[in-house]
Symmetry: C2
């Protein structure tokens, strides 16, 4: 492997590890546990899974790798706080959406060359990207990986 | 910047962002808030700061970049669960240790070339590293960055 490939693969492995850990946590939940709050008055696990699915689903357009799969999750899990909107999907359908979104993203990331990782994301203009080439796809995926870790730390508190 | 540099800088920026966010959270705490548990029966913020400081302090030897600064934090914050051992440092001394450890690590990371990031960490043998060159310093720092995000997600619950 080249140095460029080794540097890029670290980010891919980090993403896969974090998603895998959250997967384990989600897969082990009964529907009842899925409704538990991570702490008194805080988000339900159900909300966290909806939130991460919606945020990850938005990466398809942000990274220019296809159409998003679940735009219906933005309103209940990004725009609004937990409890404001009725859950649009059942627990099992939400788990399916979570798996589907992340599987497709991971497949796309696995096909990226180092140069693909360094392409600009779509939320930055050509002009701004020319000034700051660190605003690339890699930065987005590393940010989302940290964000997923952040919420995994909350999800494990219900154990 | 070369592609290699751009790929490495994404990891450095990710580390700095996550540490900066936890810093903000820690700096804003009164001594009383510092003793709060993140959820009923879970770790205190104090413990989380001790834990992250100890885990990060261990990176000096793991990355072969110098001597660790606070070995006294391992027993209370890594080996034992919260409450088992008396806190060896005051709140303000622990905050200082946290800042000192991370500042020195960040300075070392800022001096790394892409090739430095790809060197093996000290917990892997030459033989195993030859088989799997992804077991490098970059993988360690990305893992610690995710770990810090994980506990930041818990720390914000006391807000």
């Amino acid at each position: 492997m080249t140095n460029e490939e080794l540097l890029a693969i670290a980010a891919l492995n980090s993403w896969k590890l974090v998603i895998g850990r959250f997967d384990q946590r989600v897969a082990a939940l009964t529907d009842e546990q899925f409704q538990k709050q991570v702490a008194p008055g805080k988000n339900r696990l159900f909300y966290l899974v909806g939130h991460l699915t919606a945020v990850h689903d938005r990466m398809f357009s942000m990274l220019d790798i296809g159409e998003r799969l679940h735009p219906e999750l933005d309103e209940p899990y990004i725009t609004n706080p937990d409890g404001a909107v009725t859950d649009p999907l059942s627990a099992s359908d939400l788990k399916k959406a979570w798996t589907e979104v992340n599987s497709r993203l991971t497949a796309a990331f696995e096909s990226f060359t180092p140069q693909d990782w360094l392409k600009k994301h779509t939320a930055v203009s050509d002009e701004d990207f020319a000034k700051d080439p660190t605003r690339n796809r890699l930065a987005v995926v590393m940010s989302r990986t940290n964000h997923a870790s952040f919420h995994t730390g909350q999800a494990v508190l219900t154990k």
